[in-house]
């Protein structure tokens, strides 16, 4: 373990979501809820109180009938790296060391037993990707037996969020250890939402590994301050400098613009932002 770790190349797991393919069916949301033992309540009509690690938003271009257009946007945790690696908005504000950024995988973790529920991270997260447990989970009769043993259920009073199905990474690593390997294949570690998407809109992998599909899809262009070469690629609220690891692809200009907080009459991006 010690020898292997010292000269290990760091991974940077990321996701590319093709919004042209997304139909807004919500399979990713369902798969995520089931995979991660996400609690739900009898009455989920108040969406401000429901917990959805993966959430599909509906965007509209606000145009009248002939030009009207709709786009669905799935939003997991962006696993922000921040301006320098590890300076994620939520990690830097946590007073309890309950949320952590791993340099080895680039994943922002949430340790539920460590969290004391101050919700500072929720305030700092510009993507609303973090959720607070206002109640203890109540599972319908018999459902406890269907919960995933790989993800610990949360209690009342703690914050939770998408972990890029990190337990799947752990399980894949276990198998790799058994086979005497250290490196994982691309298909060995995939998130539940990626596998559940019937349209194949979500691609997941290591952004630092040139063999993985994601690194090719959003390959950075050094001439353009690290922006992906793909002109359709964008990230949410890029100008905040959160440096997310979730990329979106869209061929539609209005969708790409909707991804950041542009003013209505704004013409051009004024300041380029660093991209990791």
């Amino acid at each position: 373990m010690k020898e292997g770790r010292t000269h290990k190349r760091f991974q940077k797991f990321g996701m590319v979501i093709d919004l042209d393919k997304c139909t807004g069916c919500g399979s990713c949301m369902v798969a995520c809820m089931a995979e991660n033992n996400v609690p739900f309540r009898k009455d989920e009509s108040n969406k401000l109180l429901s917990i959805t690690w993966m959430r599909v938003y509906k965007l509209t271009n606000g145009m009248p009938f002939p030009e009207t257009d709709v786009c669905y946007l799935p939003r997991p945790c962006m696993q922000c790296a921040g301006q320098h690696e590890g300076h994620s908005p939520c990690v830097s504000v946590c007073p309890a060391i309950a949320t952590d950024y791993s340099m080895e995988s680039g994943i922002v973790s949430q340790i539920y037993t460590r969290c004391f529920g101050c919700r500072y991270c929720m305030a700092s997260c510009p993507y609303h990707a973090r959720y607070f447990n206002w109640w203890d989970p109540i599972w319908p009769d018999g459902m406890e037996k269907y919960l995933s043993p790989n993800v610990s259920p949360r209690m009342r009073g703690v914050v939770e969020k998408c972990s890029f199905c990190f337990h799947r990474y752990q399980r894949a690593k276990d198998r790799a250890y058994m086979e005497g390997r250290r490196e994982l294949q691309e298909d060995e570690y995939q998130t539940a939402c990626t596998q559940a998407c019937p349209a194949g809109a979500i691609t997941f992998g290591d952004l630092n590994n040139p063999k993985h599909a994601v690194s090719e899809m959003v390959e950075p262009d050094p001439k353009h301050s690290g922006r992906p070469k793909n002109p359709n690629a964008f990230r949410l609220l890029e100008r905040l400098g959160t440096n997310p690891k979730v990329y979106y692809l869209s061929s539609r200009e209005w969708v790409r613009r909707a991804g950041d907080n542009y003013l209505k009459n704004e013409k051009k991006v004024k300041k380029p932002v660093h991209h990791g």
């Binding site: 950024y101 340099m103 993800v151 399980r171 690593k173 058994m178």
Partner: protein, 267 residues
Amino acid sequence: MDTLDDHAKDISEDAAAEAGPNSSLEMNLKEQDTGAGGPIILFFILGLFASLVVGWIVFPKLLYSKKKQPIEFNHVFHVEAVDNGCESCHFFREDGTFSGAPKLAQCIDCHEEIQGISPDEIKFVEEYVSKEREVPWLIYSRQPDCVFFSHAAHIQGARMDCVACHGHMGESESLKVYEENRITGYSRDIWGKSIGGFKKNTWDRMKMDDCAECHRENAANIERKNIQTPTQRLIGHMVNLVSPGTSTFDKGGSIQTERDPCFACHK
């Protein structure tokens, strides 16, 4: 306000009146009690001793309930009888998960029928094997739900020995009493036999600190291997300022603790 002030005045006057006789009594006591220091000190020592006994002996007895395993089990005898040592029953599955305590399916290979004359074996075959019921073993090393522990990473990856955490289980001729913490519901083996939290061997406790002890050493080893001079560190910082993310510092993977990331052991 007036009434309140009046009330306060009354109270303070009363207090003064009460304090008068009391203070004179104290004076009297002081004069008389010059020889009473001994009994007071003795009383204090006895009280301290009694509370120590309560804290170190009575409280642990009350805290832990003693449970017997459903069936007696002799590890020494079984290790001799099987071919592959511990791994005959406590094995890894192909997907890297660890089987832990054996299920009936493994026991049934030998114990389809009664083999010997041990009353425990007869009970085992009659009550569990023939009825196809799993034995409700009490697991000494059961961890809370939030703990992720990979046997594969430690045994296959780091080549650690089972004994490092579990002690010499294979050399036990009978199963020890399972002591369950009445408050937390976990086995006493997690906190450790010593109520003060002292340990002599690596396997005496199974708390987070005990995991962290080793994982801290690991992170420290990494730093010692790639020693960076202050200048190199400064250059590293500069590179990071100019183009973030390109330079990685020599520490554990965690941004918060500079050790192993929290997700290594939590789920």
